[in-house]
């Protein structure tokens, strides 16, 4: 069996194993299902082309696939091809305690709200939070994906969680009440 035949056999399995993870990763970064679908597809196609050229042996599959997906996402942000504005300065905090409970209740489900707020977090924190608390990667894995030191990532996750708490506080209290 040639390398190409091995790839033809193995790749569909790779897609089966990682499609949910990469789609979810892209969805939580973009908060847009169509963008997420496009990004996940592009990432797998890129991965395939790379494996075709270089073979299977030399990669640590999981962090590598996340990194490919992240690069596709970042390229799209740079080219502003995303339906949602995924820009550093796009974080808008809700109006805070002054907002009335009735209007807060109309915001609907907390999970959707969390996904939306997450999608507006500055990229640096968004990427770290999604990898750590949605994808549940270990810090060494995240360091391999983001190519940043683990210490930096830990502080980004911490800071990101604080921003989320602040943004969600008024909504969440109402829903839980």
């Amino acid at each position: 069996m040639s390398d190409v035949d091995v790839l033809h056999d193995a790749f569909p399995k790779l897609v089966d194993d990682y499609q949910d993870a990469l789609y979810r990763f892209a969805l939580r970064l973009t908060a847009n299902p169509q963008d997420a679908e496009d990004i996940a597809q592009d990432a797998f196609v890129r991965a395939y082309r790379w494996l075709e050229a270089h073979g299977f042996r030399s990669v640590d599959t999981k962090p590598w696939l996340y990194r490919v997906t992240l690069n596709v996402f970042r390229n799209r942000v740079r080219k502003a091809r995303l339906a949602t504005a995924a820009l550093e300065d796009a974080l808008e905090l809700p109006d805070g305690p002054a907002e009335q409970p009735s209007t807060l209740a109309e915001r609907g489900e907390t999970r959707a709200e969390l996904a939306k707020v997450l999608g507006r977090l500055p990229l640096r924190y968004r990427e770290a939070i999604v990898l750590r608390h949605v994808e549940e990667l270990s810090y060494p894995e995240i360091a391999a994906v983001l190519e940043r030191p683990q210490g930096t990532i830990k502080s980004d996750v911490h800071r990101g969680l604080e921003l989320l708490r602040a943004a969600l506080a008024p909504v969440r209290e109402e829903v839980l009440a």
Partner: protein, 258 residues
Amino acid sequence: MTEAQVIEGLEALREVKAPPNVRGGVLLRTGLADAYFPLETPLGTLYVAHNQHGLSAVLYASRPEEFEMMFKAELGRPAIAQPAPRRLADTLREWLRGDRRRKLRFDLRALGEFQRAVLFKALEIPYGQIRPYSWIAREIGRPKAVRAVGTALAHNPIPLFIPCHRVVRSDGRLGQYSLIGPEAKRRVLEAEGVRLEELERLAESGVRYVGSATTRIFCFPTCRYNKTLSERHRVAFASEAQARAAGFRPCKVCRPAA
């Protein structure tokens, strides 16, 4: 709200499944699967599969699921139902009407040299005409391989568009047909306007070639140069030797002899 609650909320965001388009799109774009769609033809609904190299299969199946199973068994990769690309669907319908001005590409990568030569030669046979198996064998430089030509055509992965139905036995019988069955071969040829009963009568009376007394050229009976031939000038021959003995030479278009 506490950090623990936020983390709990984030964990709940895990409950997502990729839509089927992700897997399908990836397999199609990497060539690990082919797209397919149903197509109305003179033989009813057939299924047409294609990829970046061109058409890869035309099969008869009673249901899409059956087609998918047949495709997988024969080509070793899945076929995924997709809307027909408009330009391709138009071109296919034109070809079925005999208009082959627009190019069609065929994915024949899995086939051997010999079978490819046979199929490309079959593509040269014009709409509404027929040629014997031995003609293909001679034209591709393998005059003794008549039986192998039959086998190669019987395994034509793209029937109807690579017109294996236009290749018949020298004795006038139609011979085998892989798509649905021998009766289908008759239906396709009749849909192309081939007058089969007339040809069968000719074959039964031993006629293999038809010549023109004025030009002294002999042709296969369905060659387009015979269409304008008047009854008065028509000469029938049972063999190449007989035609040559009468001072006739073979037609350069249908090439009934070397």
